[in-house]
Symmetry: C2
Subunit: 332 residues, 2 copies
């Protein structure tokens, strides 16, 4: 009898798989290099799971793959320096298509001032696969990990969430409308902001710079790629703490919320269980309240582990935070 992977959440599954390895459960692996720490973060990006080539321009895809990879280095408070790229291309791709992907990769490399130092390119019979490993550095006293949040720490968020998810919903709607109607043009006007957040997001460099300028080293940090809940639960799980997140502290992206109404969706679902935000969630000691709120939103605080991870609704009720990534972990 075999056990379906879906019976475990992603986090428990990965913990289980990597139990006999030296993987640390963080955004990036850490290697000591003299006075500095080297950070290495692998990332695999697959057609059909992470992107749909029907509506993602290849150049944007290359750009976004780099953003996804760099995001893991920024989450450790690090500075990315290099990426390696491995791509599997199916036969329907032409040389010009592969060049478009690389144009996006090179544009992101230029914007974030990193070097593309190695590439493996191969055929694929299944679909497009892009694997990017980001390599960066951080001073030992500056590194931020997932497992070091402490009760009473403030929970801070680097930006608004949910726009990328809502952009995806618009793209999916237009894809359905086009199916079997080759003459129809997609209706994308008026959705530019949320579409840009979905198709060509930026990595959270600004908040890492703001932290450095304010001379603040978070007690813990994690990137938000699968919604707020998954990030909070991950931090709580790794740090063995609980959390309270106040819903009325979550800043709402106005176009996101407008489109949510149009699509009859709950904007809170986009924030809590959406994805592709590439913002950072971090914790700081409570006395840094004023310094942090200049460049980040304080959305809650860390509690003792027994309290679990909870949402506080505007009327003061408490609801357990949940995420498919934590199907099993969250039940213990």
């Amino acid at each position: 009898m075999k056990t379906p992977i879906s019976s475990l959440g992603k986090v428990a599954f990965v913990d289980h798989l990597t139990a006999n390895t030296q993987a640390n459960g963080d955004d990036a692996a850490i290697i000591s290099r003299g006075a500095t720490l080297e950070l290495i973060a692998p990332m695999i990006y697959l057609e059909g799971i992470h992107f749909d080539l029907i509506y993602v321009p290849l150049k944007h895809l290359g750009y976004k793959a780099v953003v996804r990879a760099l995001s893991n280095i920024y989450a450790m408070n690090g500075k990315p320096e290099y990426i390696t790229v491995a791509i599997g291309l199916s036969a329907r791709f032409a040389i010009e298509d592969a060049q478009e992907i690389y144009a996006g990769i090179n544009a992101a490399a230029k914007n974030y001032n990193i070097q593309v130092i190695a590439g493996d390119t191969t055929a694929s019979i299944t679909g497009l696969a892009i694997s990017i490993t980001a390599i960066g550095k951080v001073a030992p006293k500056k590194i931020t990990r997932r497992n070091t949040a402490k009760p009473t720490d403030l929970i801070c968020l680097s930006g608004k969430l949910g726009a990328a998810y809502m952009g995806l919903k618009i793209l999916e709607r237009e894809k359905r409308a086009l199916e079997g109607n080759s003459g129809v043009q997609p209706q994308l006007t008026g959705y530019e902001h949320i579409l840009e957040k979905q198709l060509r997001p930026e990595a959270p460099l600004a908040v890492v710079n703001a932290l450095a300028q304010a001379k603040i080293i978070p007690t813990a940090m994690i990137d938000i790629t699968a919604g707020l809940n998954s990030a909070v639960l991950n931090l709580c799980h790794r740090s063995n703490v609980g959390a309270r997140v106040m819903i009325d502290r979550l800043a709402i992206d106005s176009q996101m919320s407008k489109v949510a109404k149009e699509l009859n969706l709950d904007p809170l679902v986009a924030i809590l269980n959406g994805g592709d935000d590439y913002q950072l969630l971090f914790t700081v000691p409570a006395n840094l309240h004023k310094e942090v709120e200049i460049f980040a939103d304080i959305i809650g605080y860390i509690t003792e582990p027994e309290e679990g991870a909870n949402l506080i609704t505007p009327d003061g009720n408490m609801a357990t935070l949940s995420s498919p990534d934590f199907a099993a972990v969250n039940n213990d």
Copy 2:
């Protein structure tokens, strides 16, 4: 009008794609770290292209993926220290299947004394995708690259080629025999050696150790993953030299040659255009002839670029070396 990727050979295509990057055309990227060089080699391994799950046990697959990745570090005369792993798993996989892959990865890590320091695991709707990035080190005076072979250098080979390719041919034959005949057992007895070379190859650590012990630093080195021709042409292309490879100097694996006869195949094709050998091709100055032949086969020598890359047949005739990886490069 778009240009099919097949109109360029793999090497010209990758050169073209990475023209605006800092990729060096070597087996691994090189980063300077104080007194030592760090080597980083990405590798992507895809179902349907690189392996067929019908006949590859998952544990062996994990092992072989690590061997493929480490091979790139050994080819630079380096010592691998770490790997990162990113896996895309389709829904048909159970937790036990993923554990089998990781058991193979961990077994290889143990054998080659490396650490598995990070993992990204995701769903896949297409097929199994494994991306492993190997990280290693080498002293600056010991590093071997692809672009530094010199005319009159001897061309040396770390072991016999073609057995893995012939193992694949047996597996393919048995797969065809089984199709539509679920009661039939595959006939694999007597083929153990070539099957092991295909399913559970080892990385070329022995030759790197032998070079160190003999205090020989090759003038250039490359790993052989797609047959001898591809490796020789790659070395010639990067080093801007020609080559003469003497066919009668190529050691023949006896089981490989026996099975070639059984399957009506030319054993030379397996050696020249097979794959999955994970041996190293390297060049040394001609005066090291005696020292090298203790642990490697001397199969030819480097020439001026005008002479091109050629095979010398036992009767003294010359034939141009060719490989699909060099469809275009070889024509100039």
